[in-house]
């Protein structure tokens, strides 16, 4: 598995898309920091971008790589290696190379700016951690979609649709539902709903740092309990982890029973 990981990682690290992705984050980081000169504002803007963008990039890269390497995967399948090793290795290769682009791309500008001297270092690492989590989650989901759909066009469509749903539509439906049923106690619903969407979950995880003042303004006891303590952060991280483990597990299971 390590071998497969090694080769798909080195393949991706040399692809021009990795560079474009890396350069995009470099530029973004430099522009935000040096034009704004305000770390906390830069981090808020980045947060808005990252919770939407890393899932999108993860989805597109994941599904593209899956379909593009289909013949090569077949060649690997004819080798004496188990399927789970092949797919897990390739998955880790994509997710790691994308996460690395993110961490380096944003890390370098912030390092040059002197993030370690700043009080925002925790918020910044939070940002990178959730970006990496989202990458791992969405690559897993899109590879899973690829495994279930041999038709490239269909698979690509589903993957984009999944991103759109989780990034935008889900929140819209949730908002409308909450406004419609506002006479009922909603905090359980709101909290549970956010667990079922990794984008919402990482958004909230960052909110816990950046907007704790506003979140504590809300009266619900459950919110208070969740947001007011470290439990919120720990729970969020744990559920994000589940969001990786479950799709990867499904991916490996499907890969074992699939015909290529």
């Amino acid at each position: 598995m390590i071998k497969i990981l090694k080769y798909s990682f080195s393949d991706l690290m040399r692809s021009k898309w990795s560079y474009i992705y890396l350069i995009f984050y470099l530029i973004l980081g430099f522009v935000l920091l040096f034009l704004n000169n305000d770390v906390s504002k830069a981090i808020i803007t980045l947060m808005n971008l990252i919770v939407v963008l890393t899932p999108l990039i993860g989805t597109i890269f994941g599904i593209m790589y899956y379909y593009n390497s289909r013949e090569f995967t077949e060649l690997l399948l004819a080798q004496p290696v188990s399927r789970s090793k092949i797919f897990f290795g390739q998955y880790l290769g994509i997710a790691l190379s994308l996460s690395l682009s993110l961490v380096i791309g944003l890390g370098v500008p912030f390092l040059i700016y002197g993030i370690f001297q700043s009080t925002e270092i925790f918020n910044f690492s939070m940002l990178l951690v959730s970006g990496a989590f989202l990458t791992f989650i969405f690559v897993a989901l899109s590879v899973l979609i690829g495994l279930y759909n041999s038709n490239k066009i269909k698979g690509f469509g589903y993957a984009i649709l999944m991103w759109l749903f989780l990034a935008v539509i889900y929140d819209g439906v949730l908002l409308i539902a909450m406004v419609m049923f506002r006479d009922y106690p909603l905090d359980n619903l709101a909290l549970a709903a956010s667990f079922f969407n990794p984008i919402d979950l990482s958004r909230i995880m960052i909110l816990l740092k950046l907007d704790i003042s506003a979140l504590l303004g809300y009266t619900g006891a459950l919110f208070q309990k969740f947001f007011g303590t470290g439990a919120g952060l720990v729970t969020s991280l744990f559920i994000l982890l589940l969001w990786i483990v479950i799709p990867v597990g499904m991916m490996l299971k499907k890969s074992k029973s699939k015909d290529f």
């Binding site: 071998k3 497969i4 080769y7 798909s8 080195s10 393949d11 991706l12 040399r14 692809s15 593009n68 390497s69 289909r70 013949e71 090569f72 077949e74 060649l75 690997l76 399948l77 004819a78 080798q79 004496p80 290696v81 188990s82 029973s257 015909d259 290529f260």
Partner: protein, 232 residues
């Protein structure tokens, strides 16, 4: 050395292989023929472990292929389309496959044979289709495997390389290996094949030597023999 018993595979409602039983005990070149959709590719993929059968067993060199994937160490596979990761070089790819297989390999003579030396440090994404097919051939023949599966091996090859490929196949046969070939090019089959396995609707419709086939169909060449097989 290859024992297939009651093999059955269907995709949804479509049955592709129906109760296929086959024993290949001797080395030699076996051409697997059949019209489109007859189950050739599926059969090869089942052998390779890429498609999982619904029923039946396959033993290669006495090993049940559903139990372990170690048998693939003894299996060379030349896929129809040569697609590799774009950003690694030819020599990296060769090293990688050797690395994954963990068996001794002799790529150098093959690289020389196909004149691939200038391309060793080139990225695969920058190579032409023909060159990639040559790389593909190197990957298949560099191991000493007792079974070779060649899926449309001549696609995209220039005549010179084609001759070299045929030599390689002939060599392998001399070493007593089992070579399974699918091809649409009947000349090639006629030239190489010791045995013809003709699949139709998921079953073996005919198995025997070229001469037996011609005698049975009373035709002079393979193309017509097959056409008449299909008519009857």
């Amino acid at each position: 050395m290859i024992a297939v018993k009651n093999l059955r595979k269907s995709f949804g409602k479509l049955t592709v292989l129906e109760d296929l039983t086959l024993d290949l005990n001797q080395g030699g070149i076996y051409a697997i023929l059949g019209p489109n959709g007859s189950g050739k590719t599926t059969f090869l993929k089942v052998l390779l472990g890429m498609v999982l059968p619904d029923k039946g067993t396959i033993h290669i060199d006495q090993a049940d292929i559903s139990k372990s994937n170690d048998y693939r160490k003894n299996l060379g596979y030349l896929p129809q389309i040569a697609r590799f990761p774009d950003n690694i070089t030819v020599s990296e790819l060769i090293d990688m496959i050797i690395d994954i297989r963990q068996v001794p390999a002799k790529p150098e003579p093959l690289v020389d044979l196909f004149g691939l030396n200038p391309f060793l440090d080139k990225k695969l994404g920058n190579l032409s289709g023909g060159t990639r097919q040559k790389v593909n051939i190197v990957l298949t023949f560099m191991f000493d495997t007792s079974v070779l599966i060649l899926d449309e091996p001549t696609a995209g090859l220039d005549p010179v390389s084609l001759i070299k490929l045929k030599e390689l196949i002939a060599d392998a046969r001399k070493q007593g290996k089992i070579i399974l070939i699918t091809s649409h090019i009947m000349n090639l089959v006629e030239e190489l094949a010791d045995q013809i396995i003709f699949l139709l609707e998921g079953e073996i419709y005919f198995q025997g030597s070229l001469t037996e086939l011609k005698e049975k169909t009373k035709e002079k060449d393979l193309e017509h023999a097959i056409a008449s097989l299909l008519k009857s």
